[in-house]
């Protein structure tokens, strides 16, 4: 098959991946770059792509400063206790001080936000969450992005970032292929804003067979944010911080509205409250600074998500499962029942289907909960991602190198899952990060930082050959066998994905080993990932769809390698309930109150690991309190 090369030249801002982060970037870029050329490259169709494709029933990050509800620093404190202290507070503060302006604009655009009929204020689900009718959340924000962009390229799987051949460590665009036509696409650009997604499906899922599509994070979240940036040599942070979700069993329906708004609660198989009885032993693992039920009760400081997971996992392992969500009481109220169902129909339709199929009516029966397989991402209750510069007026020197949300590669920016250390951004925060990145990218160009970029034909042609190699391999070796999928000369992407999931599960702390790993297991994991990388050169694709899966697998593999390196480096158990280092079962603030930062050398494939200081926001009152102690 001959693949036509399509070159899009002279781009100022290339947005790679148009989920909530990417749409925010493309939209805002037009304001700061009125004459700039803004291009979007999207793997699917921008109207229904990314994690918000099927809609959302809540916006989980809204301060409400206009009603005196919260200040940005309140949100920073919330995110940092939830993540056991390990966050980038400069980036969080910056996102939080702008996020309300994003949400207010969404309302202008027609997104239905629920309101308290008496006060006119947005209806709160919890302290940070507001409730929306968000079935069309994605098409609405996509509309805004499409109006700002010069052109949207749908169905382009971006496989690599392009680097400047004239100046080291500077971005020059991206390349990929069209999943429909098989054309090779070259985007030459002064800046790239990476809005690609985090990773589902790198750990073996609980579901089997056909059910494997029912993952918590979208199956099309292929870790491309990380695969692309790591391969280009960008520094990454907190990649060990994978997340495990406590959700309704088998459908992964969200529990936020149930806990916060419907006031449902959990109990063990005997009908007992179980969570608090695990707190004393848990407190010995993590210390009183991170778990103090008395303080939490008094000040409404949340119990970190991972610790609540730990209680659930421990209770089940003690033989007192299943864990139930007590819904029968709340669902007697018809209004609350409606909220409960619409919550799923708005964002996790599969849970409604599952309950219909199994005749579970939460009015008559308390549904089961369970903990999921791990996911690697950076916008929910975890903060994996790239090591990005913060804003000039907030960030300390170690966190600042000129342009907000710029990675350690010049001209490469990020938003959403791509930015590390910024958990609890969710949809609205990711969109806001895209806006911040867009403004900074325009400034970078206006400051003349993107002059004289050279992309050699060698780089462009080399990538082309690499991208289409799986199609060639299939053609060459297909007739070595009679029929079927078993070949001594190649693997199909699905076979590779099974292998990746099994090894990550068993060696890097997946669900079948109770989220447990240690130094020995992690070293074996790295060895197996290395061997697997050799086999990835032998992937075969029988058509363009399989070629898409092949590149998704490569991004997932690179993500997994980085996760394993980070997990090996951080020798402590910082987030019990997300994963455990069996050889270091305690939280260790003396040695590990730091952010982990990695860089993979694109030439040698070797990783360098370092510790970066953790800065916290403190205010005058806290200062005085500390001094008085």
């Amino acid at each position: 098959m001959a693949h036509k090369t399509v070159v899009e030249d002279d781009i100022d801002i290339l947005v790679v991946g148009a989920g909530l982060g990417g749409t925010g970037a493309a939209w805002e870029a037009r304001f700061w770059g009125q004459d700039k050329k803004i291009i979007i490259a999207e793997k699917a169709n921008i109207d229904r792509s990314g994690a918000v494709a099927q809609g959302l029933y809540a916006i989980n990050c809204y301060m409400g400063t206009r009603w005196g509800e919260n200040n940005p620093e309140d949100h920073v404190r919330y995110a940092r206790i939830d993540l056991m202290g390990m966050v980038r507070e400069d980036l969080l503060f910056d996102m939080a001080r702008h996020v309300d302006s994003t949400v207010h604009q969404f309302e202008d655009w027609g997104l239905p936000i629920m309101k308290d009929p008496k006060t006119g204020q947005y209806l709160r689900e919890g302290r940070w969450q507001i409730m929306i009718h968000g079935e069309s959340y994605k098409p609405i924000v996509a509309e805004a992005a499409k109006k700002s962009a010069d052109k949207v390229f749908n169905r382009i799987c971006v496989t690599h970032l392009l680097l400047d051949d004239a100046k080291e460590n500077r971005i020059a665009g991206a390349v990929g292929f069209n999943v429909r036509t098989g054309d090779y696409h070259v985007f030459k650009s002064k800046t790239v804003i990476c809005g690609a997604g985090g990773a589902s499906n790198i750990f073996k899922p609980r579901s089997v067979g056909e059910g494997a599509g029912r993952v918590w994070y979208a199956p099309w979240s292929s870790g491309s944010a990380y695969g692309l940036m790591i391969d280009a040599g960008a520094k990454m942070t907190q990649m060990e911080n994978r997340i495990v979700l406590a959700r309704f069993k088998d459908g992964y329906g969200p529990v936020g509205a149930y806990f916060l708004h419907l006031k449902t609660y959990t109990q063990n198989g005997m009908g007992e409250e179980y969570e608090s009885k695990w707190f004393p032993s848990l407190q010995k693992m993590v210390g009183k600074e991170y778990l103090d039920p008395e303080v939490s009760h008094r000040t409404h400081r949340p119990i970190p998500t991972c610790l609540r997971n730990h209680a659930m996992i421990s209770e089940v392992n003690a033989g007192r499962g299943p864990i139930h969500m007590v819904t029968m009481k709340a669902f007697q109220d018809p209004h609350l029942e409606e909220v409960g169902w619409e919550n799923f129909l708005g964002m996790t339709i599969g849970q409604a289907v599952l309950w219909a199929a199994t005749d579970v009516d939460p009015k008559n029966e308390n549904p089961e909960l369970t903990t999921s397989e791990p996911y690697v991402m950076g916008s929910h209750a975890t903060g994996c991602g790239g090591w990005a510069s913060g804003p000039e007026d907030v960030s300390p020197p170690e966190y600042f190198w000129g342009y907000n949300r710029m990675m350690t590669i010049e001209g490469l920016f990020g938003a959403g899952d791509a930015v590390g250390g910024t958990p609890h951004a969710f949809s609205s925060g990711s969109f806001t990060e895209g806006r911040l990145a867009a403004k900074a990218a325009c400034k970078y160009i206006d400051d003349g930082k993107a002059e004289g970029i050279v992309v050699s034909d060698k780089q462009i042609e080399g990538r082309k050959e690499e991208i289409f190699a799986p199609l060639e391999r299939y053609k060459v070796y297909r007739n070595e066998i009679v029929a079927g999928t078993v070949s001594p000369s190649y693997h199909h992407p699905k076979q590779g994905l099974d292998r990746l999931q099994k090894l990550m599960d068993e060696y890097c702390g997946g669900v079948t080993v109770g989220y447990m790993t240690n130094e020995k297991l992690l070293n074996i994991c790295l060895k197996k990932l290395k061997v697997m990388e050799e086999d990835l050169e032998k992937l075969a694709a029988k058509d363009l769809h399989e070629l898409l899966r092949a590149w998704e697998l490569k991004h997932r593999h690179r993500t997994s390698e980085c996760v394993t390196q980070h997990t090996l480096f951080r020798k402590e158990t910082r987030w019990p309930g997300y994963y455990y280092r069996g050889d270091a079962m305690k939280l260790d603030d003396e040695n590990w109150h730091v952010l982990t930062v990695s860089r993979r050398d694109p030439e040698t494939g070797e990783y360098t690991m370092e510790k970066a200081p953790c800065y916290h926001l403190v205010d005058d009152e806290e200062e005085k309190a500390v001094a008085a102690e």
Binding site: E28, A44, Q54, A356, P396, H545, L548, D619
Partner: protein
């Protein structure tokens, strides 16, 4: 639930192929109609179901845990600005829900930033994003800074 397509309803228009975020709705070359080529990569997001002009696409709960005999049907109407759902349980119980999807005539709410006056140098040097500071609090209040909120960044174990 992975999706499937009814043979007699599908006319092969390809709307589902165009919208599927997972690239798994394809046209079968023999029957010239759409089908789900990879059910284990289907997120049951219903994008294809909502996009189908013939209502030819439905979903059936994942075979590894969902018994047969249920349905969740949807109709999304942009002109009306609504989405309606009908859930049918295995035991015959039915539940119906109706929600708005927009508060404005479809597609009319988003602004065209090409047409708004461009930023001044002062705005470029500030911490403002488009429409700020106004949209932060819907009043004249300024964007928060460390200084305005009495905050400092301090390295180490301080909370």
């Amino acid at each position: 639930m992975p999706t499937f397509v009814y043979m007699t309803s599908c006319d092969g228009c390809g709307h589902c192929v165009d919208i599927c975020p997972s690239d798994i709705m394809h046209i079968d070359p023999t029957h010239r109609r759409a089908y789900n080529i990879e059910p284990d990569m289907c997120w049951e997001c219903y994008s294809c179901v909502k996009a189908c002009p013939q209502n030819a696409i439905d979903a059936r709960g994942y075979a590894d845990f969902a018994p047969l005999g249920h349905s969740v049907r949807v109709r999304r109407e942009e002109e009306k600005g609504t989405i309606s759902w009908r859930i049918k349980f295995r035991d015959g119980t039915e539940k119906n829900f109706l929600s708005p999807i927009t508060t404005k005539p479809w597609g009319s709410g988003t602004p065209q930033l090409k047409d708004v006056p461009g930023p001044t140098d002062e705005m470029r040097d500030s911490q403002h994003l488009y429409s700020e500071p106004k949209y932060i609090r819907m009043d004249e209040g300024e964007v928060h800074t460390l200084e305005s909120n009495g905050l400092k960044m301090k390295q180490g174990v301080y909370y």
